[in-house]
């Protein structure tokens, strides 16, 4: 079979400007910098103008992708995996022509549709019907194509009753379903998908995965980025593993997923803030650790025993409605549960200025054996994210042979609680 995507020595460079405080450069900054440059040249007329970037104005180069080469054959379903910041999203952005590469080239054969987000271009004021047309056009469908598939799209989305309601009145579930329904009816030869499945309820996710598998089976080429190894396993035949902007391996999916997960085996039970990095305003984390109930640092816990998560924060002011949330994610990337400091109050709390320590008791006999990572966030729900620790803490649940030994297959499932049974 012939290659439909050929990537050769692809690279993407970003320039980071450390001095810049605000996100957007203003004219003033630019003028000041230009003037400084001219001033320098006047003072040192003999020096050549090729000042290294770093020296110039606190700039630094960052290669999000470097020397990436691979080929995708027609009908391949390729999963792209790697840690955050490995360059997966940058690759997809280049492949879908949103941003230009700095070096190298990509050759593509066939019609490409890329889905980096569902519902791009949805306008809240427009009705469901109008948004189907608009979103279809944005994804590259023609008017007649949309008209032909309209009923099918509506059917798939399960929102026919609200077709003439502005989508701003939709529930978030309905919104996502409608958005995905449009996307799922694209008929490209090459489909590029970023983690769009992370939204929507589980049942609908399943339906979408099913629809996408259909797409793959119809001899279409699929490129799929996800942290969810279960989804990758279900959907992809091949995998490309990325690390620090480079492809470090590609081939059979099962093999590489196992490798990737094994590489993630190292666990860390302690995190402290690096003081050289400036602290975000509002609430920030200063330290976090996982320990036994006796207070010993531990990154490997027994299936049956409880353990503690300790989080230390510092608030620069009183924050109303703040929440500390902890999400436990298993090695397949599936969130197992999320808990917050408001769990027991049922309402949001005010976080006073100063330092706080939070202690969460994680019960034993809940998680199945395996590796888990934690995402810890300080937020005002739906309003603001103060600070997030992502994958900085992780731990292993080990089975020391208690009750699972009773059953040969272990206890299949995402969790393995011991429940109370009654019988007569």
């Amino acid at each position: 079979m012939s290659s439909v995507i050929k990537v050769e020595n692809l690279g993407k460079r970003y320039i980071l400007n450390h001095r810049e405080k605000s996100r957007f450069p203003t004219l003033r900054d630019e003028i000041v910098q230009k003037a400084q440059g001219v001033g320098r040249r006047l003072l040192h007329p003999l020096r050549t103008s090729s000042v290294p970037l770093e020296g110039a104005a606190g700039m630094e180069e960052f290669w999000a992708l470097k020397d990436v080469s691979f080929e995708v054959k027609q009908g391949d379903r390729v999963g792209i995996i790697g840690r955050n910041g490995a360059g997966k999203s940058t690759l997809l952005k280049i492949l879908s022509r949103i941003t230009e590469p700095t070096t190298g080239r990509v050759s593509i054969k066939g019609r490409v549709a890329s889905l980096l987000e569902v519902g791009t271009g949805f306008h809240p004021e427009l009705t469901g019907r109008e948004n189907i047309y608009l979103n279809g056009a944005i994804l590259g469908m023609g008017k007649f194509e949309i008209r032909r598939k309209f009923d099918e799209i509506v059917d798939f989305s399960e929102v026919e009753k609200f077709l003439d309601t502005p989508v701003k009145r939709y529930s978030s579930g309905m919104y996502v379903r409608l958005a995905f329904a449009v996307a799922a009816h694209l008929e490209p030869e090459i489909l590029i998908i970023d983690e769009v499945l992370a939204v929507g309820d589980a049942q609908f996710q399943q339906k979408c995965l099913g629809k996408m598998e259909e797409v793959g089976k119809a001899d279409r080429t699929v490129l799929f980025v996800s942290h969810n190894m279960a989804a990758i396993r279900a959907l992809c035949t091949r995998v490309a593993l990325f690390e620090k902007g480079q492809v470090i391996g590609q081939g059979d999916a099962e093999h590489f997923i196992r490798d990737y997960l094994a590489g993630a085996d190292s666990t860390t039970a302690l995190w402290t803030r690096d003081n050289s990095i400036s602290r975000p305003d509002g609430i920030c984390f200063t330290a976090a650790r996982i320990e036994t109930l006796d207070g010993d640092l531990c990154s490997s816990v027994s299936l049956t025993s409880s353990f503690r998560l300790i989080i230390k924060t510092c608030s620069t002011s009183d924050v109303i409605g703040a929440q500390i949330a902890v999400r436990v994610t298993n090695q397949e990337g599936v969130p197992v549960f999320t808990t917050t400091n408001c769990d027991q109050y049922g309402s949001l709390q005010t976080m006073r200025k100063g330092e706080h320590t939070f202690i969460v008791i994680m019960p034993g006999n809940l998680l199945t054996p395996g590796r888990y990572s934690l995402i810890i966030a300080a937020i005002i729900p739906g309003v603001k994210r103060f600070d997030v620790l992502e994958d900085n803490l992780s731990f292993c649940v080990e089975d020391y042979g208690a009750h699972t030994a009773l059953m040969k297959d272990g206890r299949l499932g995402v969790v393995s609680p011991l429940l109370k049974w009654e019988w007569d």
Partner: protein, 276 residues
């Protein structure tokens, strides 16, 4: 380029295929314009009437202050309100286009960072929305002309040409401002100034005939002077003295604005997704 591949992505490449892409995405262009038109007056009570009321208000103020109190001279034998409106409509087309299109890229930032399409579509569709507004408010001019029983001559047939010139000027300015606004948000604050001053600097409330002859050519550096003079000539007809040197200067500047805007937009376009 290997013949078997349809698309080659390279740094700085794709110039040739750009115009082909623009044609391929023409439907999206119509959809974007259609969306903006639909959204424009959603959840307003009087809806489309706004595009008539706004010029009407300005017309009333200008007529009372400049026409009745200050007694500005009129061009030819046209009534003052007709003369003002013939200039106000193209001016509003220009100023609305400029402010709408300069913000358009930022308002659609989400689309730009998630989907590919020729970015030119966004500011261009913002101009189309202003054109629709213009056509609606044109009914006001027709109404005022009926009221004063003013019959235009054959010159009115040239109006579409001047309309085209107004659109090109508006799009040219819009391309410059939208591309600059992506990188330097300062322009968000500059544009209201341009629009506000422009109304008084351009010959909207008065005839450009009141400008002394020796300054007339200099005055025509404002590209809207040519557009507005053209509109007046087309609508008011015979009585208007057309100042050709100034018109050609404005025309040249309009085209320069448009072409340089296009070139600048094309050059900055590739970085929009990284900067926005």
């Amino acid at each position: 380029m290997e013949p078997e591949f349809d698309l080659i992505i390279e740094p700085g490449g794709g110039i040739g295929s750009y115009w082909r892409d623009l044609w391929r995405y023409r439907e999206l262009f119509f959809f974007m314009a259609w969306r903006d038109i639909l959204v424009r007056y959603k959840q307003t009570v009087i809806g489309v009437a706004w595009s008539v009321i706004r010029p009407l208000m300005i017309l009333v103020v200008f007529t009372v202050i400049f026409g009745k109190i200050a007694r500005f001279p009129v061009e030819g034998n046209a009534p003052y309100p007709v003369m003002v409106l013939a200039a106000l409509l193209p001016w509003q087309l220009f100023s609305n286009s400029l402010s709408e299109s300069s913000n358009s890229l930022i308002l659609n930032a989400n689309m730009i960072s998630k989907v590919y399409f020729p970015r030119l579509i966004i500011p261009a569709s913002a101009v189309i929305v202003s054109l629709v507004d213009f056509l609606i408010s044109f009914s006001l001019l027709v109404g005022v002309m009926l009221w004063y029983r003013f019959v235009p001559g054959w010159h009115i047939l040239t109006l579409p040409l001047f309309l085209l010139l107004a659109l090109i000027t508006a799009l040219g300015g819009g391309l410059w401002m939208s591309a600059l606004n992506v990188k330097y948000r300062d322009f968000r604050y500059i544009i209201p100034f341009i629009v506000q001053f422009g109304l008084y600097i351009s010959p909207v409330g008065f005839s450009s005939g009141v400008v002394p002859d020796q300054w007339r050519l200099l005055y025509s550096i404002n590209p809207m002077v040519g557009v507005i003079d053209g509109f007046r000539w087309a609508i008011l007809g015979g009585g208007v003295v057309f100042y050709w040197p100034g018109f050609f200067l404005s025309l040249a500047l309009c085209l320069t604005l448009f072409l340089s805007g296009l070139a600048f937009f094309r050059r900055s376009e590739q970085q929009f997704a990284d900067v926005i």
